[in-house]
């Protein structure tokens, strides 16, 4: 009887700790927080606000984003079925084009920062995959739900997809790239991307 009691205690001890430990650590959320704060500090920095420093500011933001985003995985997922057919050089070229495209599209939005706040809404971890939910609260008190999907690589948790208002970035580009490639060719897609990023 006493033994079973002790056994129960031990089991519940492990259960409680086993379950709460990941919630305490919250590693993916922590990583997203770090990057977000880094970018916010760059955007808020008055020393970098002058037009002369615009280039430097862009570079700093890009660096912070590069640390957290897995461009290759994102590009691979966006290209989906057409990724395997590419040669190594084409893949490399595509990854850098894709990263530039995202920079072009979203960096302006980050630079237009005007006092939005961020609230973290929890995360879910499943083996080497995780998703972090957060809300961006604008000055007018409108919530914009954002979800980051991360994957644990060799070293760190890296982002491979972002959903804003339930619309996935990878899915958006996947359907667009697919229709461009099936209607014309991969070469045409690269041409279009180059036009956009140059």
């Amino acid at each position: 009887m006493r033994l079973t009691k002790r056994f129960c205690f031990l089991i519940s001890f492990f259960l409680i700790f086993g379950m709460t430990l990941p919630a305490w650590a919250g590693e993916p959320t922590e990583k997203i927080k770090q990057t977000t704060e880094k970018i916010l500090s760059i955007v808020k920095d008055p020393a970098l606000k002058s037009p002369a420093k615009a280039q430097e500011r862009k570079k700093l933001i890009r660096q912070a984003v590069d640390e957290r985003f897995n461009w290759e995985e994102m590009a691979r997922r966006a290209l989906a079925r057409h990724w395997e057919k590419r040669t190594e050089e084409e893949k490399k070229e595509f990854v850098s084009l894709f990263a530039d495209l995202l920079e072009r599209t979203y960096l302006n939005k980050v630079e237009g920062y005007s006092g939005e706040k961020v609230r973290y809404e929890g995360e879910s971890v499943d083996a080497s995959y995780a998703s972090v939910k957060m809300k961006i609260i604008t000055e007018k008190n409108v919530d914009i739900p954002v979800e980051y999907r991360l994957r644990k690589g060799a070293m760190d948790w890296l982002v491979y997809d972002v959903s804003i208002e339930g619309v996935s970035l990878v899915n958006n580009y996947r359907t667009q790239f697919n229709s461009i490639i099936t209607q014309s060719s991969y070469g045409n897609l690269v041409k279009k991307l180059k036009e956009k990023t140059s």
């Binding site: 290209l79 989906a80 395997e84 409108v142 899915n171």
Partner: protein, 146 residues
């Protein structure tokens, strides 16, 4: 003897009628009594937005299966999908719930991925997108513009 013939004919006729009725109800109700071909995978959605069991699963607009059931699992919706045998779903495929037309019925759309690993029976589509709540978006648009 003649009377027996008549009763036999009526009986056979009624049995045939019942069989026809059974067949019809199975076909119309989309019940799968005769063993369904295909395999089951599941996906977790934070909101199904009115998806029902029996809803279509679609890749590039082509029907590739149907939703078998939807159950609540840890305050999320676990949607069990029955996919045709000859269709492979890659590990990085994305499942999203969409609406036919502006206010039509809901269906599951799968955008195939590029991974060479396919999801086996009982596996999970990890990447899911819940339906965009049109009402919420409109209200955001309306109230956001002050």
């Amino acid at each position: 003897m003649k009377r027996l013939d008549l009763e036999l004919a009526v009986g056979l006729f009624i049995i045939a009628g019942i069989i026809c009725l059974g067949y019809l109800s199975i076909r119309l109700g989309r019940l799968e009594v005769l063993g369904n071909k295909g395999y089951e995978i599941y996906a977790m959605f934070s909101n199904t937005g009115g998806l029902k069991s029996g809803s279509d699963i679609v890749i590039a607009g082509v029907n590739v299966g149907s939703v078998k059931s939807i159950v609540l699992d840890n305050y999320q919706a676990r949607v069990i999908l029955n996919v045709s045998e000859n269709v492979k779903i890659q590990e990085d495929a994305i499942a999203s719930i969409k609406t036919k037309g502006l206010i039509g019925e809901k269906y599951v759309e799968i955008t195939p991925g590029g991974s060479d690993k396919a999801i086996g029976p009982g596996g999970r589509i990890r990447e899911t997108l819940s339906p965009v709540d049109l009402e919420e978006l409109i209200s955001k648009f309306v109230f956001g513009k002050i």
